[in-house]
């Protein structure tokens, strides 16, 4: 497993299998993320990236294998217990509540650890949200919703963040802003797992890329290898 000299991983996934009623399936996925790392999971549509995040979060209930979060075995945990270990989740569909306004959306997730950002700090980081704080969550633009979804987990003090396609369908300016936010999070020492379609975006941020195909992790590419292995990456992603 991991080198004894390195501090133990924040997230260690070993041989995880999982399934839905429909066809998204995981077959023996293993991966690990060390403290402060940014790791991306890349792959084509339907490779199982979102499902993997859902399995880690415990939302995918039919799962087996071993998932250790901060050294705790969570395979039998309910989602709320996993979250309380210090995991923040930004789902693919953003998950903004229509029946809650922006502030309420922001305040909803309970604090899971010390050291989260204050509401004031969050509004400084995302001034747009301050302006819209009384609007129902789903009245926001796509970009604002994405910012709110990220801001929401920054307040909780979670140390491991799972972000599912944070740039999907957003304008380049907003993608840049989100990139900057992620870099800031990294500077603060947070650990990030990022599912991303946009490889150019991912390449700038990530320490390591896991490549998924048909519910398996087929390759792991370190940051230093990216330029050298560009052809392989292109063929994995079909670009």
């Amino acid at each position: 497993m991991t080198d004894a000299s390195v501090s133990s991983p924040v997230l260690a996934v070993e041989n995880v299998a999982g399934h839905y009623a429909d066809s998204h399936i995981l077959h023996g996925v293993s991966m690990h993320v060390s403290p402060g790392e940014v790791v991306t999971i890349v792959g084509r549509n339907g490779a199982g990236k979102t499902t993997l995040l859902r399995a880690i979060m415990g939302i995918l209930t039919k799962r087996s294998g071993s998932i250790k979060v901060f050294d705790k075995e969570t395979i039998a945990f309910a989602p709320e217990r996993i979250a309380r270990l210090g995991v923040g989740y930004v789902p693919e569909e953003r998950g903004i509540y229509a029946t809650l306004d922006v502030t309420e959306n922001l305040m909803l997730p309970p604090k899971v650890a010390e050291g989260g950002m204050s509401v004031e700090q969050i509004y400084q980081l995302f001034p747009n949200l301050r302006e819209r704080r009384k609007s129902p969550g789903t009245r926001l633009s796509g970009g604002e919703q994405q910012m709110l979804a990220i801001a929401r987990v920054l307040r909780t003090g979670a140390k491991l963040l799972l972000l599912d396609e944070p740039t999907e369908g957003l304008a380049p300016v907003i993608v840049q802003q989100i990139g900057a936010t992620i870099e800031l999070m990294k500077k603060q020492g947070l650990t990030l797992v990022l599912v991303e379609q946009n490889f150019r975006f991912a390449a700038r941020l990530a320490d390591r890329h896991y490549v998924m195909e048909n519910g398996r992790i087929v390759d792991a590419i370190e940051r230093s290898q990216v330029t050298a292995r560009m052809d392989a990456i292109k063929s994995y992603l079909g670009i």
Partner: protein, 289 residues
Amino acid sequence: MSMQALFGQLLVGLINGSFYAMLSLGLAIIFGLLGITNIAQGAFYMLGGFTTWMLFRWAGIGYFWALLLVPVIVGLVGAAIEKTLLRRVYNLDHMYGLLLTFGIMMFIQGMFVYFFATAGRPYAVPPELGGAYNLGFMFLPKYRGWVVLASVVFCFATWFAIEKTSLGRTLRAATENPTLTRAFGVNVPGLMTVGFGIGVALAGAAGVLAAPIYPVSPLMGADLIIVVFAVVVVGGMGSILGSIVTSMMLGLLEGLTKVVYPQGSNMVIFVIMFVVLLIRPAGLFGRER
């Protein structure tokens, strides 16, 4: 017909409307959070009335303490039922939830009929609320005015708790997207227990308010729940305020019918439901889904 009779009946209508409002509010909370149409809501109303009576009869605990204690007791009974029974049908077709609460209703009512028979038991109006005000055009018995006031307070407090507090915020979030809310670290299953408790506690509170007006009997909630269903259908599954307004309106109409055409008074709400379904299938405040 005298003004006194007219206003008297309108007052009774308003009181019934208050009960409809409290029961349908509880129904709406439970439906939103658990996806269960709680047909046992009327049985919990009866439980509230009976617990009030029993507290006084067996423990000498009076009305105002009952008003505090009974909703808590009924809520706890509800929470226990949610944890042991309802929990098991969440993943099944919603109809099983309805059928399960139907069984629970039959069980609770059946047990009370067995031990207490069906006769009504009187419960005295608390002395502080005895007597009446002379309003000029009618005498307003203090207690009846109190019931309307108290139920408005209960409904408003519930509305406030749902719209303006952190518990309410979490409740709304769990209603809208339970899975994601769990992924944020909220104990949604626990919240569902609490939500069911609150929903039936409202019915229990209505039972306390009813005890000095209607005789306390094991079947006092049996027909009431059906009227409340009709009220919910008329109002549509929409806003909280919409269902309160509908409840009061239908209560008043029922009272008015009692004056104009007494034979039709227990049918009028069902007739209105029929007409509303013909004209506006989604209900007055509902949206077509």
